[in-house]
Every structure is written in C-alpha cells, then in structure tokens.
C-alpha cells in the first residue's frame, strides 16, 4: 500500500475485520443480496421494462412506482391488461418475466425445475419451478429477499435507536447523576400525559384512518402529533420555571435512570417474543410494517445491555473527565464523545439481530400469521412444501435462502466479535 495506513479506531476495526476471510466474503455476498433486494422489481416482474403498444412507448415497471406514489395513472389501454399474455409491438422483459404473484395456469401444481414445462420458450422457463397454483419460485425468491432484508434492517434500526439511547442514558448517568428539580418532575409528568392525550389520544381516529389511505398522509399526521406532543412538553418545561419560585419545588430529586431501564429490560426479556408477536399480530391487520415495528420494539434489550456495559467503562475514562472540566454540557459529552466510542460492539448485536429478525419474519410467514396475502416471502413459499417428492424444490430453495442469509449475518457478527476483541490485536 502506498498510502499510509490510517490509525483511527474505525479504520483499525475495518482492517481487523478484513483479516477474517469468512466474514469478509459473507459481507460481499450480503451486499450482493442487498442489490438483488433493491432491484427486485427490475429483476422479476410480469410487466416489461420497456414496451411499445399501439404506437405508444411505455416503461411499465418504472411507471408502477409513479402510480404507487400517486404521481401518475395507468393509461386506459394498460389499465386491465394481462401483462404476461399480451403481445406488445416491442418489448424488453426483465430477466425473470414473472411477478411473485403471477399465476401461470399451464404450469401449476409444483412443476419441477428440471422436468418438462409447458412454456413458450426457454425465455419463459420457471428456473426454480412453480408452486401449487403456478407462481414462479424464482420471482418469489427474489422478492422474498427484499422482504427479508427490509424486515432485518428496518427492525434493527428501530431497535438500535431505542437500545442505544436507553442503554447510553442508563450507563452514562447511572442512578444518581441526573438530578431534576421537583418542579420539572411534576410538570414533566403532567404535560407528558396532556401531550399524549392531545397528540395521540384525541387524534387516534385521524391517525388510524390515514394509515390505511397512504403512508405519506399518515406520516404527515404523525409528524403533527409529534409536534403537538413536543410543544406540550415545552410548555411544561417553561411552566416549571415559574413553579420554581416556591422553594419546595426548587429542591432536586434523583432520577434513577439506570434502574428504570434495567427494570424495563427485565420485563421485556421475560415475555416470550414469538408469543407476544403472535398475540399482537392476531388482533391487527396483517402487514409487514407492523411486523417490523414489533420486532424492533422487542429486540432492543441486547443492544441496550451492550452499550450500557460499554458506557459504564467509558464514563470513567480520563477524556470524559477532561471534557467535563472543559465545561461541555453533559448531553454533548454523551452524544459527541461517549457514544461514538462505545458504539462499535453494538454492531455485533445488530448483525446477530438482523439474522434473528429474518428468522422471526420467516417463522411468522411459515405459520401463515401476520403477513398479508399479496406479499410473497421465503417462509410462505416454504410452507407450501408438505412432504411429497414433487414439492422437494419448493422446500429446498426458500429454506436454503433463509439459511444462507441467517448464516451470513451470523458470520458477519462473528467476524465483528473477533475484530473488536482486543486480545486479537496483532
């Protein structure tokens, strides 16, 4: 290498991680799969990428994005078209010319990938076979990748935000570092309830009605609710200043942050996750978003534990003392100096967590709970396999996809564990 090696913490971890070949290659494969997940619509779609029909040129795959976002409408001649059977004047179809939900009636009933298929040409072959009602397994696997990655990444992002914040507060402030005046505690509680009431309770119908209409509208309403909530908290904060005129309210009390966080973790850990998720999913409308949110809300405990342990160590280091002596605010020290130095071990839990989240999602799909009918996932395809020989491929491919993804994320987690272990320093 001609450039001098960087000596900062993250480049060191990167170097250590690269030494672990298994983990590194796993990483490359994961990135490859992520690209497949991103391009799923272009790779497997019953709509052509480009077609010309009755003298007009269309890009149906991309047009669909615009239609889904509400920016455009399908032209009349394409509205109720059968994409697979229609002969276009010119067309360019995706590598897999089926959507995961396209039913090929000529090839229904678990057509084997190696056997004879009733297709027009090799271009239309079902490379991984079909399921009982003639849906293409290849397309299902490609779109399943997207679902699996979305569930893994989004749910762990939610878990990381909660886990890092709560764990960091618990570890950094401990039980006796946050002292708040009685006025602030009282006003905080009152205006928290009031804010909750006005932002979410009275607006609950607006929120629940818009969630069915469009995500963007819902996010708008939700943002407004959040705004109301924070304004309410701000009013409480300002009123506390007034209340402090009375000496009784000026007195400060300890907030045992650590204790509270620990208790919450203890409670969450004793609820069997799969049972809880099933119970929640049972009462709500099926939806991938719900599954992601619940997995996220229940899997932050490990992250919080990790970061708490790390911050307990970091907070007694000299540089933190130095920044305190320099008069930085505690929040600034926490977010700018303490957390960045404690965050690396969390990557390990995140990697393992993504694997676990993907497993949970596929278990749910396998059981047929909570995943809407129109979403095709690996677990759902696998559930079709019951035992006869003809269903062998339906069992092998999606099962292997789940296994592979979970293994890859576990290997990455393993590699990170080694890379972050100081004993491995060479």
């Amino acid at each position: 290498m001609t450039t001098p090696t960087k000596q900062d913490y993250w480049s060191y971890i990167k170097r250590q991680f690269r030494k672990n070949r298994r983990a590194l290659y796993s990483m490359y494969i994961v990135i490859f799969m992520a690209v497949i997940a991103l391009l799923a619509d272009v790779l497997a779609n019953e709509k052509p990428l480009y077609c010309s029909y009755h003298g007009h040129t269309y890009f149906p795959v991309f047009k669909e994005y615009a239609v889904d976002l509400g920016l455009a409408r399908w032209p009349k001649e394409l509205l109720n078209i059968n994409w697979t059977d229609t002969k276009f004047d010119h067309e360019l179809r995706p590598p897999v010319p089926y959507s995961p939900t396209t039913q090929d009636f000529f090839n229904s009933g678990f057509v084997s990938p190696f056997g004879k298929q009733n297709v027009a040409s090799t271009r239309w072959r079902h490379w991984f076979g079909t399921d009982d009602i003639g849906r293409d397994i290849t397309a299902g696997l490609i779109h399943g990748t997207r679902v699996a990655f979305m569930v893994g990444i989004i749910s762990m992002s939610i878990a990381s935000i909660i886990g890092i914040l709560l764990g960091a507060f618990g570890g950094f402030f401990g039980d006796n570092k946050i002292r708040v005046s009685r006025a602030n505690v009282l006003m905080g509680i009152i205006f928290f309830i009031l804010g909750w009431f006005n932002a979410f309770s009275t607006r609950s119908y607006i929120l629940s009605d818009t969630i069915g209409v469009s995500v963007i509208k819902f996010l708008g309403e939700f943002a407004l609710s959040l705004f109301i909530f924070f304004v309410s908290m701000l009013i409480g904060y300002l009123l506390a200043f007034v209340l402090k005129i009375i000496p009784f309210f000026r007195k400060k009390v300890n907030i045992p942050v650590d204790l509270i966080v620990q208790r919450v973790i203890e409670i969450l850990v004793s609820i069997p996750r799969l049972f809880l998720i099933i119970a929640v999913v049972a009462i709500s409308k099926p939806g991938i978003a719900l599954i992601m949110v619940i997995i996220g809300l229940t899997s932050w405990t490990e992250i919080a534990r990790f970061i708490r342990a790390e911050l307990l160590r970091v907070r007694s280091l000299e540089y933190i003392e130095a920044s305190e002596a320099l008069g930085y605010s505690r929040m600034r020290i926490l977010f700018k100096h303490a957390i960045p130095n404690a965050i690396a071990p969390v990557l390990i839990t995140i990697a393992f967590g993504i694997a676990a989240a993907i497993l949970i999602e596929s278990s749910l799909s396998f059981l047929g709970i909570g995943v809407p009918a129109e979403v095709i996932t690996w677990g759902k395809i696998l559930a079709k396999a019951q035992g006869s020989k003809s269903q062998l491929w339906v069992a092998i491919f999606p099962g292997f996809a789940i296994f592979l993804t979970v293994t890859l994320f576990n290997l990455i987690g393993e590699g990170l564990t080694d890379a972050l272990d100081p004993r491995q320093k060479k």
């Binding site: 203890e266 069997p272 278990s363 709970i369 035992g387 069992a395 099962g399 293994t407």
Partner: protein
Amino acid sequence: MLKYVLKRIAIFIPTLFVISLITFYLSVNVPGDPVEQMLNNNSDLGSSANAQASERAYVDKRAQLGLDLPLFYFSLGNAAEPKNLYEVPKKFHRQNLERLIDKYGDWTEIRKYYQSLKDFEVAIAGIPRDSANADALINIKGNIQKLYISYDDNAIRSDFKEITPAINEHASLQLARPAYQAVLDDYEKGVKGKATPMKKYIPALHWYGLNNQYHQWITKFMKGDFGISYQDQRPVKTVIWEAVHWTVMLSIFSIILTYLISIPLGIKAAAKKDSRRDKIMSTILFMLYSLPVFWVATLLIMFLGGGDFLSWFPAYGVGEISSDDNFFQIFGIRFYHLVLPMICFTYGGLAFLYRQMRGAMINTLTQDYIRTARAKGLDENKILWKHAFKNSLLPIITLFANVFPLIISGAIIIENKFSIPGMGKTAIEAIHARNYPMIYTIVMFSAILTMIGYLIADILYAMVDPRISYSKK
C-alpha cells in the same frame, strides 16, 4: 440464599403485572365482538328473527362474560365522552357512538339520536309484513343496521335517502313515520346542529373502582379460572393443562439431551483446540445454529417421515395408546413418534451451547492454575474433567435461562409441523379461531414459564459459584 430467592420472586410481581396489562390491552382491542362470537357458536339466538329476544340473549351473555363492566380502574378520556359509555351493550354500536362523539362532541344529543334510532327499529319491527311492503321492510331494516355503524355524514345521509322513499311509498309503513322523523330531527338538528367538537380536547379522568373487567380477570386468573374457550366451550384451564404437559415434557427432555451432548463435545473440542476435528465440528455446529427450525422440520418430514422418500418415523401426532399397554409400550410408542420433533427441539440449542462450552473451556484452560496442574504432572483427563470443567460450567448454567425461551418459541413451530397437541399448537389454533381467552392465557403462561427459567438459572448460578453470594447484596 432464601432471601435472594424471595427477592427475585418479589420482582416477578411487577413484571407479571406489566405483562398482564399488555395482555389485557391486547385482549380488549381484539377485532370482532366476543359476545356475538359466543352466541353464534353455541346457539342460533344470535341470528334469530326475534330482535328483542336476541338483544336480551346478547345482554345476558355479555353480563355472563363480565363484559358489561368498565375496562379498568380508571380511564383518561375527554370531556365529550360520558363516563358510562360502557353500558351500551353492543360493541359495534359503542364503537360507532365513540366515533360520533369524537366528531360531534355532544353526548346528550348523540344519545337521543341513538335512542330514537332504536325506537324506530322497534316501530318497524312492529309493522305486520305483507306481500306489498316486504321488500321495503327488508330494505329499511338493512339500512337501520347500517345507521348503527355509520359515523360519516355522507354514509348516514345516503342511508336516509334510501329509507325516506321506502317509507313514503307504502301506506302501511306510515305508522313508523313519526319515529323516523324523530331520527332525522335528532341527527340534523341535535347531533349536527348542537355539535361541540372542541370538547374532546379537554381531558377528563374517570374513576371506576374495583368492579372492572381487568380486576375481575386478574383476580380470577390468580385463582386459576382462565375463562371459557370460545372454540369448544371447555374451560381454558383444562385445555391448557392438557397442552402444557406435552410442551414441558418435550422441553425438559430436549434441554437434558442438549446439555448431555454439547458439554462433552465442547470440552473435547476445547482440549484439542484448532485441530482438524475441532474445526470441522465447529463449522458443522455453526451451520446447525443457523438452520431455521421450520426448514429442518419440513425436510425431516419429507425425507424420513413417510413422504416419497424414506418412511422411518411417523411424521404426525404422538401415537395411539390403548388402555392395556404397559409403561414400556407406551414409552416405546411415544418415543417413536417424538424422535423427529426431538431432533428439531435439540439441534439449535445444541449448537448454541456447544459454542459457549468450547469458548468457556478454552478460556479456563489458559488460566494459571491449569498450568500448575499440568506442571504437577496431573493426568490430562483429570485436569480437563476435574479442574477445568467445574469452572467452565458457570457460563453454561446461566445459559439455561436463554435455552428455555428458545425452546418455548421453538415449540410453536415444531408442534404445529408435527401435530403435537402442546401449547404451541393450541396457541396457533386459538389464533386462527380468534379464541382470545386462550391466546392470552397462553401468553401469560409462557411468560411465567420463562421467568421461572430465569429464576432457576440464577439459583443454579449461586449454587455452582461460591464467590457469588446474593444475600450480601
């Protein structure tokens, strides 16, 4: 020690309380009306033509299920909502009234409207049906039912638009005319005319006391009364008890099996660290760890359980036992049926424990006292099993707490795939049948089992390691 255990159990209580709150919250928010579900399941009263009889049956059943009580000790609502809204019997009507209150905010007017709608229904029901007005009557009845669950202004108006001509058309329906006029007036002039929508922004705290659904439910739960299963009208307790022993038996067996296999394997691997055998074993077990249990179950059934390949083991159920089978025969039948499920139960925890055991043992073997033992010329096997083993057992024992929930959640998938009548299968069946008393009892139970697992792990931990003394803390 005893003090510590008692303290741990004391922590249980708030944890259980929170879990019971979550469970209760979920059970209250279930879609559909449990009373109607019960009525439809066991009698034809729910669909009976006699509206008043079915209404009475509904109210009775509701009272019997304890659903006529307020939900919780208190409620934080808004000033527009009345304190006693829970007294409106029908759940869908109640939900619609809540919507109307949210929209228009004046309870007295909305109540008047609701009452006159009910009067109108009675008036229509009192009109004798003949061949001329039959269609109109059915039309009006349908629209009244729609009005009960409509809160959108346009929807209500369109219902009115259908009722008005139907009433005007037939002379025999003129009897119901005044009642209908009252509905129209109450809606237009009352509900909409005197709307006070701003009232919902004023919070109001209502206190209900101990006579509420949660209190009833939790006290009954503590006494062991978990309610009636919607599916077959049997007490939930009986059903759960039948199911739980399968799950507990399977999990205890598989935990013992897991420990028995993984500990020697892990120790052997650690003793010959980095040998080829160790590497191969580690890789295999690492892959086992990532194998999804439902995939393994599917493949096992396909290849060994009487699919089109080998049929060495039965794939489903736990076997039939006749009354004159002796213990060994029963054991034989059960064992034969449970081989495949046991494999599924065991392999995941096996891989997990193996890795932990190996890591702990490698850690211990680098300690000074082991070097001393070796220098002393002790037999290598003795060092491994007598000196190192004891000290590396520590992390393994605490993992009991992690293995237990793993198995409990594994049970959901495995029992369903292999048709074992345990908790997991019962839970999924209950979910598909929307049998909520069952679902929430199972959630509570699995939480309690998990907590017991943690407690046992903590106690074992203290027993193995004399350095840990809980009483001093």
